[in-house]
Amino acid sequence: MNNSLSPKAIREIREGTCNPLGAPQVTTDLSENIILTSLDDLHNWARLSSLWPLLYGTACCFIEFAALIGSRFDFDRFGLVPRSSPRQADLLIVAGTVTMKMAPALVRLYEQMPEPKYVIAMGACTITGGMFSSDSTTAVRGVDKLIPVDLYLPGCPPRPEAIFDAVIKLRKKVSNESVLERTKSEQTHRYFTIEHNMNLVFSENNGEYLNKKASNTLDVSRNQEIKEDLEQIDKSILIESEEN
């Protein structure tokens, strides 16, 4: 059925093309008042129209993402409502460089999000490490090593329009899903998909480090000495300035 035609026009076409007995009343009433769809489509439509992203940003990519919140780009029209709690979010747009120190926090945020959840890796840093991939001591080379990524959004940083493009592509992905097939796309443990030789290493951080105390310092007695010295110098400077 052509959606651009109004119901009235459709009715007229039907009457014009039907036999002299007139348009079939029962089927017309049905098609005008009942929507036939599958539960999957309805469910997907509801979910893709309310992708709530988590407010997550660690670098300049978030500046571009923040532009979407404003009226110029206005991502509310896509049903994106920024959430500050991972419990209420179902989309994680990783905006910005992720360092080794940030990685545990990112994984924790991802794990706190309710299923089904989606991840967009935004920007070069989150895809490969970007300009930090050459010799940084801390930058994680691609967040897909930490969490599963649904969509890679390249750019450094990507324009707000590019983020919309990513969101639209993600909506298409959501619309193709099926509740029955959900188990097939569930998260797998990414660490075992690439062969590597990891040794079990225990942390040397036993808490002692936090209680670190100074040991090799100037004595208090010597401090007094220095203070007296300084006072004397003060006086001599005063005298000099008075003489001048």
């Binding site: 951080n205 670190k212 110098i233």
Partner: protein, 174 residues
């Protein structure tokens, strides 16, 4: 050009004014000459650092503009530097406004320095960063922890002989 302007006495004794002033107060130091914009560089031993800086503060260098570290190279010294400037109307030293004090620490020594937190509060995080990146210990620092790296990180990332561990997360993406 500068050399022509100097007097004979200064040519004989190439030490800067500040270096000499510190020597007058019996603080051992070594002059490193001037850098390209004429700022005097002084080197002191770790045990003399606190005295030297407090004396300089008393002489009018009342602002620690920058504290930092660098590595001279594999096997060479680790250096902690202190850039002091004058802020305010200290008329007595209107001519000299900046000085840089360096402490050279042998790699195999215990790499300990007195913290300047009691003199300049601003040295707090800068010393923590130097500790974090070079492993130089600042005694009497109120919070001698790593600043940037994770607390259980091993190694000192900005040393020239630092070898980056081949963590899975930090291997090149394909």
């Amino acid at each position: 050009m500068d050399k022509d302007n100097k007097t004979d006495k200064e040519l004989v004794d190439k030490r800067g004014i500040i270096s000499k002033a510190l020597s007058d107060y019996n603080i051992e130091n070594e002059s490193l000459g001037e850098d390209h914009i004429g700022i005097e560089n002084i080197s002191v031993e770790p045990q003399n650092l606190y005295e030297a800086i407090s004396k300089l503060k008393d002489l009018g260098f009342n602002y620690l503009q920058c504290q930092g570290g660098y590595d001279e190279g594999p096997g060479k010294s680790l250096v902690s530097f202190y850039h002091l400037i004058t802020v305010g109307d200290v008329q007595e030293i209107a001519k000299i406004k900046e000085v840089r004090v360096k402490v050279f620490l042998k790699r195999d020594s215990d790499l300990s320095l007195p913290s300047l937190y009691s003199l300049f509060r601003g040295s707090d995080w800068q010393e923590r960063e130097t500790y974090d990146m070079f492993g130089i210990n600042f005694k009497d620092h109120p919070c001698p922890k790593r600043l940037l790296m994770p607390e259980d990180w091993r190694g000192w990332p900005l040393r020239k002989d630092y070898i980056q561990p081949d963590f899975y997360e930090m291997q090149d993406a394909y």
